[in-house]
């Protein structure tokens, strides 16, 4: 039998106001908090850049090495800029950035499957209330809205195809989905062809809006809102086509970030952030190293080391570290036990997450695993703790802010969890 907690039934003035705001459909930030808070949030210039290593990077070959132990693997550990802290020898450049980073070595989550684990981690795995929560990017798009740049608030740079990925938005509604830039390329036909004059284009857009209004009268608002939004986003991006002009990139930047997918995409992410995109996610696929784990990481980690270091350096050099939160994570880590295929399997039991920038206390290592890496030794942290922490880092009070799903107030992060103060400035 399920026992309701007081939280579900509490109906404070704050929640009532939130519900009213949601019902009224306040533009942009409708559905969260009071209008005053929404206005404040619109002035918030904080941004987030998530580097997602899909499939599960090994914590033992990165942030939490256990050299010369039964599960330690072949690699050495190296000292970092932070006295007493070692990382894998596969991250020499990041090791020198440790005074700017914060690492949680005591992540302990529940799901060891990709198909369910990825959405759980990216949604912050809140308590089940029968609704589909948004991915972090969609949550930020909703809670903070676009920056003053007007650029789409949630851009996903990924290998493969692009498009508008509405499902990330969950109950928030399709318009908070991800604008996915496949291989970092802009949406097709972004630039107005020369054969169409500016005036003709404006007339076409007006005609489209008119048809849209007629169409919308007979359909659900959410659907049409998202449909119109995609066009508006394309219009905004048209004003920033230079973002996608690789010819404008300096040779030095290309070399620093690397010419591989992750390097190119991380460099684009920096440019998107500089241009004002609220939330950028860069995804690298193929980290599911059930076989040949060590050769895989020997090939992959130097590319992460290179591109993430370049990113951190640039954020600091440009003073963006005070307003941009960078997070690097996956859906889980990898097993200490090495299988017969010289691989490591899925391991949510004790893994690591790294972060830097806005609101984060630099040079911090939180938590510890057992000497052989088989469990968390200190207080374990779940993804819900990280969501509270990251929201707090960018100025969102996750203990107060709520979503409104119709008239249902919902916490923006797991209500049994809290921010990790050690990680925050």
């Amino acid at each position: 039998m399920n026992h309701c907690r007081s939280w579900e039934h509490g109906w404070s003035r704050r929640r009532m106001l939130g519900a009213m705001a949601g019902g009224a459909g306040v533009a942009g930030l409708g559905g969260i908090l009071q209008p005053a808070a929404a206005e404040e949030m619109a002035r918030n210039d904080k941004q987030i850049l998530l580097i997602w290593l899909d499939g599960g990077m090994s914590q033992l070959e990165s942030w939490d090495p256990k050299p010369n132990t039964p599960f330690g693997g072949p690699f050495r550990s190296i000292p970092t800029a932070l006295p007493g802290i070692h990382v894998s020898e596969l991250m020499p450049k990041l090791s020198r950035q440790m005074k700017r980073l914060a690492v949680v070595r005591s992540m302990k989550t529940e799901d060891a499957n990709h198909s369910s684990g990825v959405p759980k981690i990216l949604r912050g795995q809140p308590r089940n209330r029968g609704v589909t929560y948004p991915y972090l990017g969609s949550a930020v798009a909703k809670l903070m809205g676009p920056t003053e740049s007007g650029l789409p608030p949630y851009v996903w740079v990924k290998p493969g195809n692009g498009g508008f990925i509405a499902k990330h938005a969950g109950f928030l509604g399709a318009k908070y989905g991800a604008l996915a830039l496949g291989d970092g390329k802009p949406p097709a036909n972004l630039v107005r062809p020369d054969s169409i004059s500016s005036a003709a284009d404006a007339a076409r857009q007006e005609l489209r809006r008119k048809f849209n209004r007629q169409f919308a009268d007979r359909r659900r608002a959410n659907f049409n809102e998202a449909n119109s939004y995609v066009y508006d986003v394309a219009g905004t991006l048209m004003k920033h086509v230079e973002l996608f002009d690789e010819a404008k990139l300096s040779e030095k930047d290309r070399r620093r970030y690397g010419t591989h997918d992750l390097g190119r995409h991380a460099l684009l992410a920096r440019r998107l952030i500089e241009a004002g995109v609220r939330f950028v996610q860069v995804t690298s696929y193929g980290w599911d190293t059930h076989g040949d784990n060590f050769n895989s990481h020997a090939s992959r980690m130097p590319k992460v080391d290179q591109s993430v270091t370049a990113l951190i350096e640039d954020l600091y050099d440009r003073g963006l570290d005070e307003r941009v939160l960078v997070v690097m994570m996956a859906e889980f880590g990898r097993t200490p036990r090495i299988n017969g295929s010289v691989g490591r399997d899925h391991w949510p039991n004790a893994w690591s997450v790294a972060m830097a920038g806005c609101g984060i206390r630099p040079g911090t290592v939180v938590g510890e695993t057992l000497p052989d890496g088989t469990d968390v030794k200190t207080t374990p942290y779940d993804i819900g703790h990280m969501f509270h922490t990251w929201f707090s880092a960018v100025g969102l009070d996750s203990a107060e802010a709520e979503y409104m799903n119709g008239t249902q107030p919902l916490p923006i992060a797991h209500d049994d969890m809290h921010k990790v103060d050690e990680l925050l400035i």
């Binding site: 690699f75 076989g291 895989s296 299988n339 017969g340 691989g343 399997d345 391991w347």
Partner: protein
């Protein structure tokens, strides 16, 4: 009209498993000592494991310590008393008297900066060559460990190395499936050959397929073994061996030994009865022990009973030992044993009589 009777196809004799040795840790490489008395192996616990084959019952004896990380390679000195071992932290070691009371003859703590990928000993036992992740290829005196020659700044990461029996050349195989021939002395690169298919790139990962080089037939043939990778993140590759005509550096013969789940050739050895013994390891649980006659593309014996085979060695008496992995070595999350412990996987060593032998399996 009645069909003519088919000629009876004689099934070639097969090797028979005699007994199995236990090892509580995972092994990467196993070899018999030149004298044949001891089986030596190295792996994930950085110690040289030894089994005395002359004892009444084969038993493991004291380990030789000194290495770090993993022992990545181990070879015995042809006709000599030394065992050369290399590890993933860069240590190179020569151990004397390994069949009795071992002592370290010489060692270099930092023969390479990090993982020594490959080690090869000359036929006369007087020189050995190593290649590391640090981009260096080094030739050492087997007798005293002096550095004899060096190829610095190899243009790419070396996965495999071999020294020609005449010690006039070394050959490297890199992450990208490229063979390079270097003159000795001097270390000048005198030729390159790309083995198409022995490299794969996707999703920021290079998968190297050229993992083993071995000279044969007095240096007239170079064997290039490994696999043709088909994916990243998993051991998905077709195990492949190329036999190259060394003077011409051209592929004379190729054998593809299985499907893409079978992975890579991890080790091979020439058997005095006139065939190649080969082991492969692919997806978890997928291992092959194959016997292959020269010039043939299909093995005359293929056992898939052992899980993920990583090494083999041929004894002077014809016996073959295969190191494998325990079954069910994979598993997401904290897979525990019956007592609730989170335990490491291990490597059983399977000892086979050569094909045609009437030796009986050892009971128990």
């Amino acid at each position: 009209m009645a069909d003519a009777p088919k000629p009876t196809e004689k099934k070639p004799p097969e090797p028979r498993e005699l007994f199995k040795l236990d090892c509580d840790r995972q092994l990467m490489v196993a070899r018999f000592t030149a004298c044949g008395r001891m089986l030596v192996a190295g792996g994930y616990d950085a110690s040289i494991r030894r089994w005395d084959l002359c004892a009444e019952q084969t038993v493991e004896v004291d380990r030789v310590e000194g290495h770090h990380g993993w022992i990545s390679w181990l070879e015995v000195q042809p006709g000599g008393d030394l065992v050369f071992s290399a590890d993933t932290w860069g240590r190179l070691q020569a151990t004397r008297g390994i069949a009795g009371t071992p002592e370290i003859a010489w060692h270099h703590e930092q023969a390479h900066d990090g993982w020594i990928r490959s080690l090869s000993v000359s036929d006369d036992g007087q020189a050995l060559v190593t290649a590391g992740r640090d981009g260096a290829v080094r030739v050492w005196s087997a007798v005293d460990g002096r550095l004899l020659h060096e190829v610095k700044d190899h243009p790419s990461e070396v996965f495999a190395v071999a020294i020609h029996p005449a010690k006039q050349a070394i050959v490297t195989g890199d992450l990208f499936g490229v063979l390079r021939r270097f003159e000795l002395p001097g270390g000048k690169c005198v030729g390159e050959t790309t083995l198409a298919g022995m490299h794969f790139y996707k999703r920021i990962q290079d998968v190297g397929g050229l993992r083993l080089l071995r000279f044969h037939d007095k240096g007239r043939t170079l064997i290039c073994a490994g696999g043709e990778p088909q994916a990243t993140g998993r051991s998905i590759a077709i195990p492949t061996i190329h036999w190259l005509d060394w003077p011409k550096c051209r592929i004379a013969h190729t054998a593809r030994l299985g499907a893409k789940n079978h992975g890579f050739v991890f080790d091979l050895a020439w058997h005095p009865d006139g065939f190649w013994a080969v082991v492969t390891s692919g997806q978890p649980g997928s291992g092959q022990f194959l016997l292959l006659k020269p010039g043939q593309e299909k093995p005359f014996f293929n056992s898939t009973k052992m899980s993920n085979c990583h090494s083999l060695a041929v004894h002077g008496d014809g016996r073959i030992v295969v190191t494998a992995s325990n079954r069910n070595s994979q598993g997401n999350g904290a897979v525990r044993d019956k007592r609730g412990n989170y335990v490491a996987n291990f490597s059983p060593l399977h000892v086979f009589a050569p094909p045609g032998s009437d030796e009986k399996p050892v009971a128990g």
